[in-house]
Amino acid sequence: MMNSTEPQKIALEAALSAVPGPRAWSTFRDSLRLNIDAISLVPTMTRLREVGLNMLIDLTAVDLLEYADATDRYRMVYQLLDTESGARLEVRTHVNDPEPKLPTMTTLWSSANWMEREAYDMFGIVFTGHPNAKRLLLPDEFASFPLRKDYPVKGRGERHNFPVVTRSES
């Protein structure tokens, strides 16, 4: 399993040699992961797109509040794919409270547009430079970020706060 990602890792490390910032590579069950800092996100992603990773498959966040031995609060995960060769890469970066902020990836891949809106909706992570930074799935007036670990599954009563229509008046 380790052998199959080694050549890809060497090639990508060579391609990213000009990009500043610390990089940590890891492998798990034939998927290659790259851990970078939020500051070097834009140059790294731009370079990765230039070397052929032309499709952004998924963009999501994980709230590590209740994760044992986690150092940061939010982990952002980007799944990239090279459609020509079929190579995949998972890029990870971290952001913290208060005001978790990251630069947007919509200039590189347009599939990031709605996925970043969803990450904002669910976690409260702000993407600077996003063309339409509004909530996507929940009503605009919704006050909380539900996928955070400190928000309960059943909510805080928002689902009950509607007027009741009885039969005689409808």
Binding site: V153, R156, N161, F162, S170
Partner: protein
């Protein structure tokens, strides 16, 4: 589903007219399919050729609320959708009935989460409940037949039986335990938005 409602007028003339109106209304219920999720697919299957719903009078599924008399809420209703549901219910002309199809519309189903309304009867009047996840087409047909029997038994020509249903019929808006749990867990006051379906 028995009802203790007495018809407004008891005479032979009015009861004959009532019976005639009930017969025609029961056998030509045009559904307004408010299909949100998986139960919507079973609703489509019920109106497809194998379990044909139009045998029972539901010849067409009119998607305009002004032309329907039966609203079938099929699927889970979430916070964002509930005002839409209420608005469409209010747009339907009398007489109208509502079938809540599927576990999610009856009580929230498997989704006891922050987003899903735990049963539309909390906010809307419902006549027949169909359990199931999703209910088989035969169950939906049984519900329509039961509704037809209900209309035959309790309907009136001038649709006066609905004026007696003045209280909300579903679970209380906050049941006591849930409110206590919410307040225990979250001591902060929230300004929750209020949706008014009439505007």
């Amino acid at each position: 589903m028995s009802s203790n409602i007495q018809p407004a007028s008891n005479g032979l003339f009015w009861t004959t007219l009532d019976a005639a109106a009930n017969w025609s209304r029961a056998n030509s219920l045009w559904p307004m399919p408010f299909a949100t999720a998986c139960c919507g697919i079973e609703l489509m299957s019920t109106s497809a050729s194998k379990h044909d719903l139009s045998r029972f009078g539901s010849e067409v599924m009119r998607f305009s609320p002004r032309q329907c008399d039966l609203m079938i809420v099929a699927g889970r209703v979430v916070m964002k959708m509930l005002p839409v549901l209420q608005r469409i219910w209010l747009q339907m002309p009398e007489p109208k009935w509502c079938i809540s199809m599927g576990a999610c519309a009856c009580s929230g189903g498997v989704f006891d989460t922050y987003a899903v309304v735990q049963g539309i009867d909390r906010f809307m009047p419902v006549d027949i409940y169909v359990p199931g996840c999703p209910p088989r087409p035969e169950q939906l047909i049984a519900a329509i037949i039961e509704l037809q029997a209900k209309i035959q038994k309790t309907g009136t020509l001038r649709a006066t039986e609905f004026a007696d249903r003045t209280t909300p019929e579903g679970p209380a808006r906050f049941d006591g335990d849930e409110l206590v749990r919410i307040r225990d867990r979250n001591p902060v006051q929230f300004n929750l938005p209020v949706y008014d379906p009439r505007h």
